[in-house]
């Protein structure tokens, strides 16, 4: 289809000739994020300022062209995929850390700032930014805010929305607004709260004010092996049931541990059915006491081969294995489909056994590496795209896993977003009235449907997932 030449010219006038990409070959680079489905944009626009973002969106509104904000493209639910074409609004030129205020313990950043860059900059003031997605070396704060991203340390510290104090946003008509800010309890409706996690469907984010936390004086990190996923899951519940909420509590299954160990030699026990990575932080007395208590609970639940990091480099190595796990899985198969779902923590053994059975049924290897403390599982279906007919099988297996999550009282996504990938499944959880309430928000802020169309809400024009309609609907609505 493409955009009319005069629209391209207008975009070039708005942001500079070299910051608009419109050749078919170059556009193909932007057709994907880290999810499975792709569609090329009609133009990629790289603004440098809020004013330029506003101009681009005003143009898009005038010509009724979709706008899809995009950070590093590491999203896992297709949020940045231009499924209806239009403009990919690439914010990576807006990558300045505008301010770190060590007294107020806040940072003001542009949306293209990489998550880890912010943490490194804050470290100079003995502060840190808590949400730490595994993609933190690449993903942007703007993308994190749009998706309400999580990460291992969100168990104790909370997800992105708990750390965003305010944002400058550009709405679908190109208007620029500050929502929320430094002071708590602001007067009026919490616009910031609903815009965080709105997946680019309500606004483009141009500045983010975040809370920074004091770096804890001491950290203890423990790796423990378990004979089975079930025993490891029970240990997770037992730790938290004892009144201890660790900073992070992560699980990896045997498949993952094997790949990670081959890649990183981090000393992960490859004979284990599952391993837990547990971290506590605080003052030294606190980490010592909590870790001693945790070791006792883990041992009571068949934990063995427990190993506590003795140095910062050892700790980094243990975490490198966890955060690099997805990459390491490339040793088993070249492609993966990473799913995201949350179950009530006590249902972890059931969901993991269901996930295992689905993998066996479809003859696809599945590796689990996830935030066990939150009940947030991440089954990775491993495959080789070169195998004929494999993709529909992979998708079907993923759907069945999600369905199992929902049937156990869980949620479709804990931190990756609904995006394109899961929009068809929303009626599994939400009733027509629930979705209508969400649509009212969309209608109030983007009546013309310019911002990231085709996401979050079920799209009647798209292919029907094979499980849709086969099973009951609106579990959440029926529950109350």
């Amino acid at each position: 289809m493409g955009l009319a030449p005069e629209v391209i010219r207008e975009l070039r006038r708005a942001v500079g000739r070299e910051h608009v990409i419109a050749s078919a070959n170059d556009l193909r680079i932007f057709e994907r994020d880290a999810s499975i489905e792709g569609a090329a944009p009609d133009a990629v626009v790289l603004p440098a300022t809020t004013a330029e973002v506003s101009s681009v969106i005003k143009l898009a509104a005038k010509h009724r062209i979709p706008v899809v904000p995009r950070g590093a493209g590491t999203g896992l639910s297709g949020g940045a995929v231009t499924i209806r074409g239009g403009i990919a609004l690439q914010v990576t030129r807006m990558r300045r850390i505008l301010e770190i205020d060590p007294v107020a313990q806040t940072a003001l950043v542009e949306p293209g700032v990489v998550n880890q860059e912010l943490s490194l900059a804050a470290a100079a003031h003995r502060l840190f930014y808590a949400p730490d997605p595994s993609s933190q070396k690449a993903c942007t704060i703007g993308g994190n805010a749009a998706e309400n991203s999580g990460g291992p340390h969100c168990l104790y510290y909370g997800v992105t929305t708990n750390h965003v104090l305010g944002m400058e946003v550009v709405l679908a008509d190109g208007s620029v607004h500050w929502v929320s800010g430094d002071a708590p309890d602001r007067v009026g409706l919490d616009l910031c709260g609903v815009l965080v996690g709105s997946e680019g469907t309500l606004c483009a984010i141009t500045k983010i004010k975040v809370r920074l936390l004091r770096t804890p004086p001491s950290v203890a990190t423990l790796l423990a092996a378990f004979p089975t996923i079930e025993t490891a899951s029970q240990a997770v519940s037992a730790v938290i049931g004892r009144g201890i909420v660790p900073a992070a509590l992560e699980m990896m299954d045997r498949v993952t541990v094997g790949a990670v160990e081959a890649h990183y030699q981090a000393g992960y026990p490859t004979d284990a059915g599952a391993v837990l990575l547990v971290e506590v932080d605080g003052i030294p007395e606190s980490t010592r006491e909590l870790m001693a208590a945790i070791r006792t609970v883990l041992a009571e639940n068949q934990g063995y081969a427990m190993r506590e990091a003795q140095s910062p480099s050892e700790r980094d190595l243990l975490w490198a294995g966890r955060k690099g796990a997805i990459g390491a899985l490339g040793r088993i198969k070249p492609n993966y489909y990473l799913h995201d779902g949350v179950v009530p923590r006590s249902r972890l053994p059931q969901i993991l056994s269901a996930v295992g059975e689905i993998g066996v049924h479809y003859k696809l290897p599945v590796a689990n590496v996830f935030h066990a403390g939150d009940g947030n599982l991440h089954p990775n279906i491993l495959f080789d795209l070169r195998d004929a007919g494999v993709l529909p099988q992979v998708e079907s297996a993923g759907e069945e896993m999600l369905r199992a999550v929902v049937e156990l009282g869980g949620a479709l996504s804990g931190e990756h977003g609904i995006g394109l990938e899961k929009s068809a499944f929303m009626p599994w959880v939400f009733s027509a009235d629930d979705l209508d309430a969400m649509r009212r928000v969309k209608g109030a802020l983007d009546g013309a449907g310019i911002m990231n169309p085709g996401k979050i809400f079920p799209d009647p024009d798209r292919k029907v997932p094979h499980l849709a309609g086969r099973t009951g609907v609106a579990i959440e609505a029926k529950w109350w």
């Binding site: 999580g150 709405l171 002071a183 708590p184 009026g188 709105s198 007395e285 939400f430 309430a437």
Partner: protein, 362 residues
Amino acid sequence: MSRTTVEKPATAEELARRLHDAAEAGESVFPAGGGRAAQMGDPPTRKGVEIRTTALDRVLEHSQADMVVSVEAGITLEALQAELGKSGQFLPLDPHNSPGHTIGGLLATGWTGPLRLRYGSARDFLIGIRVALPDGRLASAGGRVVKNVSGYDLMKLHYGALGTLGVIVAASFKVFPKALHDVTVQSTHDSVDQAWAAAEQALTMPMAPAALELFSTGRVLARFLGSPEATKRTVADLGWTEADGSVWAEHSKAAPPLWARIAAPRHQLRTILHELGADQQWWASPGTGIANWAIAGGADEVRSIRALVAAAGGSLVLMAGPDEFRHDAGAWGTPPATLHLMRRLRYAFDPNQVINPGRFVV
């Protein structure tokens, strides 16, 4: 008061139907829980029916292992804490003007207390919500898991909206384990300046307090939660006097008849409170930037302090006071610059302003 009749629907469905009928008949509806925040906001501009949620008082599910609880909106905070306490858990809410708040009321008003320093507000641990809309529908958002990004976060929109987007009928929360160790300490000072210095010292301890309240009398109360040795070490290093934990329950009863909440960037709070003058009574949470002022003075004083707070980027909101006073001083102050966006949202949910007409800023 402008209310004429009071109704107590027995179910969420009945409440939604009643709301719909009122909307059809052009009646106004004033949702209420325990009535603890009845004077929050501007005096309503119309008469109408008060719909109390107090008959919706069930715990729908408390999954101890998952540390998640779902309740109907009319349950009191105390009843919920009693249920959670049976398994060593709690909801970290300790609002002023207790006891008697309902969960729905706390969500609609966004009232908090000292524990906000450590745990944040209910905004941070509200994971699911069910709301009756003026068109009679019941709509849910979120879920019953502790981490969830499925669809828009409507919990945030309803939190603190004073019911203007719909009446909250049920909610789910992430709950917390009671601390392994819980110690309260206090220090008293001759001058407020000394008290501020003491508060600052406690707030910058390597193990931060879970709550810290500073009073205009020069008293500072701090609460440390954590593992036993860590807590003991911190309290010893700080060197204040140990106090009985019951001081917090006593403190949560505070509810001046003429009362304002000042919320500012936290490092600006001290300067603002200094401007109140030595004759005024207040208490503050310096770690969060929130203070509560027992106003001794007129609407002019409120307006001048409000101007200072607004210049610092904060807000001054009336929490309680006679209708005439709230009318004179204004409950909310200058509306936010995004008011027109908020109005669009309000219109999308309650186009005829059936709920709380004139009471909220939007």
